[in-house]
Amino acid sequence: MSGVQVETRRETARAGTAVSVLDRWGHQLQRLPLHLVIIIFIAIWIVPTIGLIVNSFRNVQDMSNAGWWSALFPPHGFSLDSYNQVLQTENVATSIFNSVLITVPATVIQLAIATMGAYAFAWMKFPGKDIFFIVIVGLMVVPIQMTLIPVLQLFHTFGLAGTFIAVWLAHSGYGLPFEVFLLRNYLGGLPREIFESAEMDGAGHAVRFLRIAVPMTIPAIASLTIFVFLGVWNDLLVSLTFLGSSPNRPFTVVITQLVTSLGGGWQFLTAAAVLQMSLPLAVFIFLQRYFVRGITSGSVKG
C-alpha cells in the first residue's frame, strides 16, 4: 500500500501542485475511517463528562424536563442553583473541608515514613532484608478489604474510631508498601560514589539521608505526592469504613450517602461531582507532564 503511495507521490511531484493537493485529499480520504473511529472513541470518553458539567449549571427542574444537550441551544437557562443547593445541604460544606484535612496530613505522613524506610532498604545491609522486601512487594496487591475488620477493631480499642487520626494512619499503612517499593528503586539507582565519598568525609547516615538522598529523590517524591494526594482525595472505601457515620467524613462519602439516600431530586449532585473532580482535573491539566511520566515510570498502582 505504501509502495504505491511512494510511486504516486513521485509522479505528483512532477505533475505539479494542483494534482498534489488532490492526491493529498485522496490520501486523507483513505484515512477517513481511521479518523472516524478515533473521533468516536474521543466522543465516548469526553461527552459523558461534558454532559455532567453542563448539567451542573442547570437547575433541577430543567434537568428533569430535558437532557443536558438542550442547554447547548438558547434558551440555555444556565444557573448556579445546583451549586447553591449542594453547598447548603447538610454536611456538604464541612465534608469538603474534611477532605482537605484528611488528604494533606495523610499524604505528608506516608511519604515521610516511606522515604526513610526506602533509604534503609536501598543503602543498608541487614539480615532478613530480602524477605522483608519481598513481603512489601506482596503487600502491594493485598486487597485492603482483607484488613478492614481488625483495623476497625484496633481503632475502637485505642479510642480512635471516627477520628482524622484513624484515617491518616490507615491511609498511610495502606499506601506505604507501594511507596517504599518505588522510592527504594529510585534511591537505589542513585550513584554509589556520592554516598561513599560522603562517608569518607565522615558524614553519618543522618547527614547522608537528609543532605544527599532526600534532595536527590525530590523528583520521585514530587510525582508520588501527586498520586498519593489524589488517591486519598478520591478514596471512598477507607473513609466509608472508618468514618462512615462520623462528622469527620470526607466529601466522597457524603456524596455517596446522598446518592443512595435521595430517591428523586438527586440531580443537584451533579454540582457536587463537579466540585469533587475539579481538584483532580486541575492537577491533571496543570501537572500533565508529571502525571504521564509518573504513570509510565510505574509510580501508580492503577
Partner: protein
C-alpha cells in the same frame, strides 16, 4: 477549629518527629560499638515503615483469617461455616459470579481498548490532544464517574422525556428506553463499562509509551516488504508489546477483583450487581464480622496467584539490576 489545629500539627509535626527520631537515634547509635551499630542501624531506619506495614497489613491479614473461622461474637470456633455460607448462599454466589464477569470483561476491554486506541492514535497528528481526551476520566474519582454515568444511564418510563443520554439517543433511532442499571441483562455490562471507561486512558498511556520504543526501522522494513498495517500490528507490534500488555493486564485483574466504588455508588449491589468487595462491605456494615472476614479471605485467595506473579517478576528484575 480544633480539627485544623490537629491537621496542622500532623503536617508539621510528623516530619519533625521523624527528623528528631533520625538525628537523636543516629547520635545514640553512633556511640555504640561497631558490630552493634551495623546490627541495629538498619532496623532503626526501617522500623517506622515496617511497623506501619505490620500493624495495618500483616497483623490484620492474619487476624482476618483467624476471624473467618470464628463465630460472630469471636467466642468459639465454627470451622468452615462462614465459607460454607459464602459458597451456598445465592446472594454471595451472585457476587462471586459478577466478580468473575468483572475479571474477564473489565480486563479484556480495558487492555484491549487501551491497545487499540494507542495503535490508532500513533498514526495521526493530533495524537497528544486525543490522548488527553481518553485520559481525562483517569484522575476523576469513581464517585464522580458514577454520577457522570448515572446521567448517561438515566431511565424514564416509555412515553416520558428521556433525560439520560443513552436512552435519548436510543429514542432518536426509534428504540424503546432501557433501564440500564435495573435490567439484569444490561446492569452488569453497564457497570463494567463505567470501570473500563475510567481506566482505559491509564492502559493506553502505558501501552503507548511502550509502542513508541519499537524502532520505526523495523516497521518501515515490514511496510517495504508489502506487509499491510493489520499484519504489522498482528505480527510485529503485538508480540513486541506483549510484556507490557501482561503487566498492565495483571494490574487490571487486581483492579477488577477489588472493584467497589462504582458498584456501591451506582446500584449498591442491588438487582444482582453485587461483587465480592461490596458483599464484604455489606456483611461488615450489618455486623456480620466473621462472614465479612470469610469474604475477605476469598477475595485474598483470588489475588494470591497474582501476588506470586508479581513477586516472581520482582525477583527477575532484581537479578538484572
Amino acid at each position: 477549629m480544633d480539627q485544623i489545629i490537629t491537621a496542622a500539627v500532623a503536617v508539621v509535626g510528623v516530619p519533625l518527629v521523624l527528623l528528631g527520631y533520625i538525628i537523636l537515634g543516629e547520635r545514640v547509635i553512633e556511640r555504640l560499638p561497631d558490630h552493634l551499630q551495623t546490627w541495629i542501624r538498619p532496623y532503626f531506619w526501617a522500623l517506622p515503615a515496617i511497623g506501619f506495614a505490620t500493624i495495618f497489613m500483616v497483623y490484620p491479614l492474619i487476624r482476618t483469617v483467624f476471624l473467618s473461622f470464628r463465630n460472630n461474637a469471636d467466642t468459639d470456633w465454627v470451622g468452615f461455616n462462614n465459607y460454607v455460607y459464602f459458597f451456598t448462599f445465592p446472594d454471595t454466589l451472585t457476587s462471586l459470579r459478577n466478580s468473575l464477569l468483572w475479571l474477564v470483561f473489565y480486563t479484556l476491554f480495558a487492555v484491549g481498548l487501551g491497545l487499540i486506541i494507542a495503535i490508532l492514535l500513533d498514526r495521526v497528528r493530533y495524537e497528544s490532544l486525543a490522548k488527553i481526551a481518553i485520559f481525562l476520566p483517569v484522575p476523576i474519582s469513581a464517585v464522580a464517574a458514577s454520577i457522570i454515568w448515572k446521567f448517561m444511564f438515566d431511565y424514564q418510563p416509555p412515553g416520558s422525556v428521556q433525560t439520560g443520554t443513552l436512552n435519548a439517543a436510543l429514542g432518536a433511532f426509534g428504540g424503546q428506553p432501557v433501564a440500564w442499571l435495573v435490567n439484569s441483562t444490561t446492569n452488569n455490562p453497564a457497570l463494567i463499562f463505567v470501570g473500563v471507561w475510567s481506566i482505559t486512558g491509564f492502559c493506553m498511556v502505558i501501552i503507548s509509551a511502550s509502542l513508541k520504543s519499537i524502532s520505526t526501522e523495523v516497521l518501515e522494513a515490514a511496510r517495504m516488504d508489502g506487509a499491510n498495517e493489520l499484519r504489522i500490528v498482528q505480527l510485529i507490534v503485538t508480540p513486541l508489546l506483549w510484556p507490557t500488555i501482561t503487566v498492565v493486564g495483571t494490574t487490571m485483574i487486581i483492579n477488577a477483583l477489588k472493584t467497589f466504588d462504582i458498584v456501591f455508588v451506582l446500584t449498591s449491589g442491588a438487582y444482582d450487581t453485587d461483587v465480592i468487595a461490596t458483599q464484604m462491605f455489606r456483611q461488615l456494615a450489618t455486623h456480620h464480622l466473621s462472614r465479612a472476614a470469610a469474604v475477605g479471605v476469598v477475595l485474598f485467595l483470588a489475588i494470591v496467584p497474582l501476588l506470586v506473579v508479581n513477586i516472581r517478576r520482582f525477583q527477575q528484575q532484581e537479578e538484572t539490576r
